[in-house]
């Protein structure tokens, strides 16, 4: 038992998939411990899905190796897949099959699916399994994908952008399901391009950029390096505490227009809240930056052309 616990849920060494022209995944060295929730963060085209497909044995590495619970992802693909629940980035089309038939189909391929567990998840997400797949909304298709990944109580969940298409209520339900699954002993590896999502649920976060793992951070570290755009509106006649805010730790790019103040906050909000305490604030909006802006801030890279000036 102790020996089993020591094996990493996921480990990769110099894992490379080179599609040419600088596209792909390069020299990935990753270690995800058992019962860890690991967030895999990166903008579109950064190599998240390529990593996941390499772990699932869908594609073969150009170089290096990947292991799941010590099993080689290419050589022992069958054994790996017994232990893994997989949610692909795009839910495939099942046409006129009903939801329950899709579950039975894939459950029949896998074997050993607990029907009560399936029912519990379907009820939880209010997913009507008596409807045809074709009639499902994109959110319901995503719920079905989640159900298919969780239906056999896998030891490891590999989830590619799992909350895309889910409404906020179902996103919260999903986060709760993740916490319970992790508490039940499972390991979770989820990819996302939304910073706040991985903050919700992950213990650690790997940040991928242009096919390379550039940072693995604990949740606390991520909080310290996070950035928010903040807009504060003060009550009419109230003095705007601009000087106090300029002096506040982590507050940058401050501008004032009438009673409205805009700034960027690095790390937590403690200093900002302290600076505006005592002032009458009628509105405060904090916006999470896009992942590109986060990279800009974090790595000090030049602003990509696609970003608004």
């Amino acid at each position: 038992m102790l020996r089993e616990m020591a094996v990493a849920a996921i480990s990769t060494s110099q894992l490379t998939k080179d599609y040419g022209a600088g596209r792909g995944l390069f020299d990935l060295g990753l270690h995800v411990s058992q019962q860890e929730v690991f967030g895999y963060l990166g903008p579109n085209g950064s190599g998240k899905t390529t990593t996941i497909r390499l772990l699932m044995g869908m594609i073969r590495p150009t170089n290096g190796s990947a292991h799941v619970f010590g099993l080689d992802c290419v050589r022992d693909a069958m054994e790996v897949k017994r232990k893994v629940g997989y949610l692909p980035g795009d839910i495939p089309q099942f046409g006129s099959l009903r939801g329950d038939e899709v579950v039975a189909y894939l459950g029949g391929m896998r074997g050993g699916v607990d029907r009560r567990h399936v029912r519990a998840i379907a009820e939880r997400f209010d997913l009507d399994l008596n409807r045809r797949f074709r009639e499902y909304s994109s959110g319901n298709k995503q719920k079905l994908g989640i159900l298919l990944a969780f239906m056999h109580r896998p030891e490891l969940l590999i989830l590619d952008e799992p909350t895309s298409g889910l409404d906020p209520l179902n996103q919260q339900e999903f986060y709760e399901l993740l916490r319970e699954t992790r508490a039940g002993g499972a390991t979770i590896f989820l990819s996302s391009h939304v910073l706040s999502e991985v903050e919700h649920v992950c213990d650690r976060v790997g940040i991928l950029r242009r096919g390379r793992l550039v940072k693995v951070a604990e949740l606390g570290e991520l909080t310290r390096i996070r950035v928010h755009h903040v807009e504060v509106e003060f009550a009419p006649g109230e003095e705007v505490p601009a000087e106090r805010l300029r002096a506040a730790e982590g507050v940058e790019d401050l501008s004032v227009e009438g009673q409205r103040l805009r700034c960027t906050v690095h790390g937590n909000f403690d200093a900002l809240l302290e600076a505006i305490s005592g002032s009458r604030v009628i509105d405060l909006v904090s916006t999470e930056p896009s992942l590109e802006e986060f990279f800009l801030s974090f790595f000090g890279e030049p602003k990509p052309k696609a970003l608004p000036s």
């Binding site: 029949g108 029912r119 409807r131």
Partner: protein, 540 residues
Amino acid sequence: MIGIVFGLRLGRWGVVGFSLAGLLLVFAQTAGFYQVAGTTPGARAAFGSAMATLAAQLVALFPPPLRPDTAGGYAEFRGFHPLAVLFAVWALASATGFARGDEERGVVEAALATGTSRIALIASRTVGFALAVTVASAAAAAGFLIGVASGHETAAVQGVVEEAALLAVIGVACYTLSLFVAQMAGPRLATAAAGTLLLALFLDNSLSRAMSSLTAWRWLSPFRYYDLSQPLPPGGHFDARAFLVLIGISVLATAAAAAAFMRRDLGASLIRLPSIPHRPSYDVTAAPWWGVAVARGLYERRLGLLAWSAGMAVMALSFVALTKTIVQVLLSIPSLLPYLSIFVHQQLYPAVLGYTWFNVAELMFAAFAITYVARWSAEDSDGRLEIFLSQPLSRAGIVLERMAVLAAGAVLIAAVSGAVLFYASHQQGIDLNAQRLTAASLMLVPFALVFAGAGSLLAAWNPRAAVGLLGAFAFASYLDTELGTIYKFPVWLLDLSAFKLFGAPLLNGVNGRNLALMLLLALAGIGSSILAIQRRDVGA
């Protein structure tokens, strides 16, 4: 204009493939004419007579040829008439692919979101197909001209242009009729409904040549108006009124399709069956077949298998009914009697039935295999294969399961059509050897497996190109048999064609060597596809 270009862009491989098919088929038949018809008037007259005899056996499929002793008459019969059927299938696939496939993929929604009206969308795609089929028809006409040039003869340009125009307009008529039906039926049924209509219209016309009871109804069929012209041979004619009727059918069907499209919701059909009261459920079905490897695949395809079985059974009934008529025609040709008594050993009915029915059945089983390969390719491109492979199944296991499902489906269809053929023949007083009929019907299974094996390899190697390449393979196999004797192909090359290997099992029994070769070809396809899929990246 941009809609027309977009439609052509989406169907570019169809244009290329069918243009090539038209060019090659017509060229090969025309050039082949000079190889087999002889050079003297007497030799050509004898050849024309032999062709007329052959045509009498195929009267249920194609109209009797005019002047088969000339390159024009021969090419029209052996090249252009089969192409009309091929172009009808292309029209069906393109129309339902646009009306339902593109709609499911969101292409139609995206086009309408740009401000394009529904009428404009229907019109642009119809014009796009009309251009595509005109290009392919022109390629076929070019094939004829090149073939005639190879025989150091010349052809009347007007006749060639009229033949190409006829081919194009029958294609457009089939496209617009399919487009109209696709608006009526739901996504699951659109192709089947449109295909059934086209088949019914085709049979209405073709069977009317042998069954007088149908002559009163053949005006309904666009194929009737195609038949009324035979412009290619010397002394041929072009019926301008029939040509205009085909254009009229196309315009009316397009207008009807546009009107129907305007009245229905996207993703829905115009005719909606009353829905069964819906009861929400959170439970998984307890049906046991989902847990059994081949049973789940058969269950998933149950409606398709039912339709194939029913369709083949109806065709078997029709061919039995036709056999009597055809045999009477053959017996009325005194010069044929010695040939019939020598070569078919008094087994005229089994010989004719074996020739007509099993020729069609071979084509249908090849088409059956191609539909399965199309599905495997779709599974690959839309992500189903990825999610199947995320279950603890090996890639080889998936290939084998696919083949087993196809084989089981083929056995079912062969058994149903064989049983119907036997029963209907018995009712008509045609006594077939039950053992030979069983063996001949079951021979269709390895025949389908040859195409499935090749398709499996193509789907594993390049799923996007698999259907087109398999279609080309089937076409080449057919040509191999058709032209092998004319051009004196080596035996090993002929043996690569499943059409040739199938032989005439109802008349001569199953040839063990040919059966073994077919199984070998199928196994080679399966084995190599397992190797190919092991090495390929899935989902990338």
